[in-house]
């Protein structure tokens, strides 16, 4: 059973309750995205190993279809890999992705390392998910086996929990 595999970096990924380290990364050759700009709303960070690899494609295609769901839950989705902006641009265009892909390219993997989800041997990010609350604190994190599409059920549960907390206040 694929889904039963133990994820490699589940232990090192920043856990719930940790303030999410801020970063600024290029989304296109002349645009950067700064995490702290999203303060005030939940953010989903989807680290993945590489553009074009089949599982990533499916995973990103799934999230692409779910943007309206994320929007309803008030959340912003950011994809992150060590690929450069030109590669991201081409991948994004080909798959008609409607959310930003950030290039953790220079210094390579720096943000992935900050979040504890860099695969040193291969030089790529883990397939890792972080859901941050409106205050920029990690509410939920998960590292999937690298070849397995983690889907979106966990993200949705986490976002719905955040929404319920907000409503309860």
């Amino acid at each position: 059973m694929l889904v039963m595999n133990k994820p490699n970096h589940q232990g090192t990924a920043l856990p719930a309750g940790t303030p999410a380290p801020d970063f600024s990364l290029h989304s296109t050759p002349d645009q950067t995205v700064k995490l702290s700009e999203f303060r005030g709303q939940p953010v989903v960070l989807a680290f993945y190993p590489a553009d074009w690899s089949p599982v990533c494609g499916d995973q990103m295609a799934l999230y692409n279809e779910m943007l309206s769901e994320f929007q309803e839950l008030g959340a912003e989705l950011l994809g992150i890999s060590v690929d450069g902006v030109w590669c991201h641009g081409q991948f994004s265009h080909d798959r008609k992705l409607h959310f930003p892909l950030l290039a953790d390219f220079e210094p390579k993997g720096e943000v992935s390392r900050l979040y504890g989800v860099y695969r040193h041997g291969e030089g790529v990010s883990e397939r890792a998910l972080f859901v941050l609350n409106a205050d920029g604190v990690i509410h939920w994190s998960y590292v999937s086996p690298v070849g397995v599409n983690p889907g979106a059920a966990g993200i949705i549960s986490a976002l719905e929990e955040l929404q319920n907390q907000t409503e309860a206040k």
Binding site: V3, L62, N149, A152, G154, S157
Partner: protein, 183 residues
């Protein structure tokens, strides 16, 4: 009430069992319930289509098969209208006939082709396509999609056997073993 956050995802339990809402083939109290989340433009769903037919033939009345929509509309530009067309046919009592036509003609799923299939099934094609273009069946397709996402559907096709996600091979024999083992 705080919802439980699963420690491992994908969550593989069906979150919308609701019998009665689905399009089914076979007795609704059959011991084996097979549910597919599929996309009419997805080649893998196309490959699974004859396999499901074969399984239905072999299991007969022991199996109840249900289909829910999971169109990846950005990757498959015709998938959404195809799904809505099947639902529109469903409101006219011809869901499965349309479902079969769509999977048997995966290479032609634009609106003109959809209208042709409606005509072939003696459905009021202009009326049906008008509904599809107006998005009359979009909420139903969306409800299927949302239930899938929450149940651990990460791509298509995804099958659930008696409410549990089947992660094995879509090969007929292996699939049958899983199905009969579940009853």
């Amino acid at each position: 009430m705080k919802p439980e956050i699963p420690d491992s995802i994908p969550k593989s339990k069906l979150t919308l069992p609701a019998p009665g809402r689905d399009h089914i083939q076979g007795p609704k109290n059959a011991p084996i319930m097979l549910l597919e989340y599929g996309d009419y433009q997805c080649p893998y769903c196309g490959q699974a289509y004859p396999i499901v037919k074969e399984i239905q033939k072999r299991l007969g009345d022991r199996l109840c098969f249900a289909f829910r929509n999971f169109p990846l509309a950005n990757a498959h530009p015709y998938a959404e209208h195809a799904a809505e067309t099947a639902e529109a046919a469903g409101t006219r009592g011809a869901f499965w006939e349309m479902h079969d036509l769509l999977f048997e003609n995966q290479d032609a799923l634009d609106d003109d082709a959809l209208a042709e299939y409606a005509t072939a099934l003696n459905l009021d094609a202009p009326g049906l396509i008008k509904e599809v273009v107006a998005g009359a069946h979009k909420p139903r397709v969306r409800e299927d999609f949302r239930s899938g996402v929450r149940s651990g559907v990460n791509g298509t096709p995804t099958f659930f056997i008696n409410g549990e996600r089947y992660d094995g091979s879509p090969d007929v024999e292996e699939f049958l073993a899983a199905l009969t083992g579940s009853a």
